[in-house]
């Protein structure tokens, strides 16, 4: 019998999958909402316990499922980094549901509401698996599950526009997972294994002999492209603005906050645990990821400036922020990947808060979505206005807010290489200015009053208040007390 904490990763996945089945059987949307939020919080608490325990003992462990030992069975591997990320994902999903609940009631048909929460449970389950899995093929299966559930989350708002957005998202995602699957097939034919540890040993042996270098480069390229499509890496990002911008608030927050991060984490795991950073560097894949990351950073922000639709603007900003994460991965160093992981936490909390606040701001202004129609909305709901402002400032990178810390870490992590340092610092500076160019006018718009009249206060929305207060606290906490969080990330990276 293993100690209890070793069951936690498996237990969380099982809870989410069982929760999905349970919710599908029910009919009541409200009950499903309560169960989903409670379930997400329970998994967050469990992952938090796991995190504390693993930080105390400074260890990572492998959980063998079934009675088949390696190399035949299926495994999960958990360390502090995985526990930290899953705690964050669970919390963000719970907060997004709370913040988007009133919009959900408005956008989703009442008889379909419980099915929406089924999809949320499946999304959370797939995120957990993508974070914890130690088996390549399990990764592929859950990439597909995350694709289908994410598509269902997008099309929850039953309008023609969202349906077409879903379709484009689906087709591109399928192309991405197809590339990933080919990568697995080729890797299997080269190494003969699917478990990450065994694959990694074989790759190390191949590296020593110098054989199959071209094949390895091709395989790493396939994995990068496949996962890049799912994580909206430039230039595979075109599906994201419509999919994340046109759907209901909770879906936007969940998709932008967590789903696009799941595959990025799998990419980090593959780079560090399977191929090792040294090999990736020798194959020059990290340079490609680095350049694409920088281009995403700039291009996403430029497109956001041109966007007039409030949610689509935030979606373009997500592409820019994923650019930061890919830049960090592309640095190919310990510090770079730690900065990328930290930025995953920062963006998850900030962007879900921004989406919830914009959803609320547009709800108090008669569900209008264009930026200029949100004029004065922050005065109708001050809390949503404060949340939006803080989120925007955090994305720009103002000190004492989460975004500042991650930009700081990304900038300092480039110190190792002169060429990459110059490019990164210029890109960060440029992107900060560009971020300010679209976030500041948006903030000014929501606080300004049309023609001097003072708008009436909107009635309170209790679930949104909880979500906004906790999110604001999280963003400020990440911006002030970033050293302990970064310490956890660094310990977790060493044990990856």
């Amino acid at each position: 019998m293993l100690p209890f904490y070793r069951y936690i990763p498996f237990l969380c996945i099982l809870l989410c999958l069982l929760g999905a089945i349970l919710l599908a059987a029910g009919k009541n949307g409200r009950a499903a909402f309560v169960i989903s939020v409670a379930g997400a919080l329970v998994t967050a608490v469990l992952s938090g316990i796991l995190l504390i325990r693993l930080m105390q003992t400074n260890e990572s462990f492998v959980f063998v499922m079934g009675r088949f030992p390696a190399p035949f069975g299926n495994e999960l591997k958990a360390g502090p980094l995985q526990a930290l990320l899953s705690t964050c994902f669970s919390l963000v999903i719970a907060l997004s549901l709370l913040g988007g609940w009133s919009d959900l009631k408005h956008d989703v048909k009442p008889d379909k509401l419980n099915l929406y929460f089924v999809m949320v449970s499946l999304t959370l389950a797939s995120l957990y698996v993508l974070t914890y899995t130690n088996d390549m093929f399990t990764g592929y299966v859950f990439i597909e599950i995350s694709t289908l559930s994410a598509c269902a989350l997008v099309m929850a708002k039953d309008r023609g526009q969202t349906l077409v957005a879903t379709l484009r998202y689906l087709f591109l995602s399928l192309l991405g997972s197809g590339l990933f699957l080919i990568g697995i097939v080729l890797l299997y034919s080269v190494t003969g294994h699917l478990l990450m540890k065994q694959v990694s040993e074989h790759i190390a042996a191949l590296r020593a002999t110098g054989e199959f270098t071209l094949q390895l480069a091709f395989i790493v390229g396939l994995f990068t492209a496949g996962l890049g499509v799912k994580s909206a890496m430039f230039p595979f990002h075109r599906w994201l603005p419509d999919a994340h911008g046109s759907t209901t608030t909770a879906s936007s927050a969940i998709l932008s906050g967590t789903v696009i991060k799941g595959t990025a984490i799998l990419l980090i795991t593959l780079f560090c645990r399977v191929f090792t950073l040294d090999t990736v560097d020798k194959l020059h894949i990290d340079n490609v990821v680095f350049v694409l990351g920088l281009m995403g950073m700039i291009f996403g922000s430029v497109s956001a400036i041109r966007e007039r639709h409030s949610k689509r603007m935030l979606a373009w900003s997500s592409i820019a922020q994923m650019g930061y994460i890919f830049t960090g991965i592309g640095l190919g160093t310990r510090a770079g990947i730690c900065a990328a992981c930290f930025h995953i936490l920062v963006h998850a909390t900030s962007k879900s808060m921004l989406f919830c606040c914009v959803g609320r701001l547009s709800a108090v202004n008669g569900h209008r979505k264009m930026l200029k129609e949100l004029q004065g909305s922050a005065r109708r709901d001050v809390l949503a206005g404060v949340g939006f402002t803080l989120g925007a400032l955090s994305m720009i990178g103002i000190p004492l807010l989460a975004g500042f810390a991650s930009k700081l870490y990304l900038a300092t992590s480039t110190m190792g290489s002169a060429t990459k340092m110059g490019a990164t610092l210029i890109a960060i500076a440029l992107s900060t200015v560009l971020n300010a160019l679209y976030y500041i006018p948006a903030v000014v718009t929501v606080w300004s009053t049309p023609d001097g009249e003072s708008p009436e206060r909107a009635p309170h929305d209790p679930t949104f208040v909880i979500a906004a207060v906790v999110s604001i606290a999280a963003v400020v906490l990440l911006g002030v007390a970033y050293t302990p969080v970064m310490h956890m990330v660094e310990v977790g990276f060493a044990l990856l």
Partner: protein, 128 residues
Amino acid sequence: MMSFLNTLVQHRYAITATILFVVGLMNLMQQRYLVRKVIGFNIMDAAIFLLLASRGYVEGRMAPVVAEGTAERAAELYINPVPAGLVLTGIVVSVSVSAFSLALIQKIYREYGSSDIKELVHLVKRED
């Protein structure tokens, strides 16, 4: 010449899979009608499964059905069963994805009366 033909025969599965994959991909990119795009996907998936299944097949060996009494016999009697298992899982995934896409296309058709992607993009733009 003979050696070239020999290489072709040796890699016949990989070559067929590549051709199939390109056919599927071109279908996906070029076709305007959504259902045809889905068929393109299925061809791509079939190509990947062919490649995967061929990796586990060893000329002259049998299916790994371990009956009473044969369990102790050497493993070199059998082909590698793992890729076959992966192909089965892959087929399940592919079927569910196809079903989901077709349902979505049906819903879009009811909404817009069209399954032509160019026309749909145009119609959606007009809604904005």
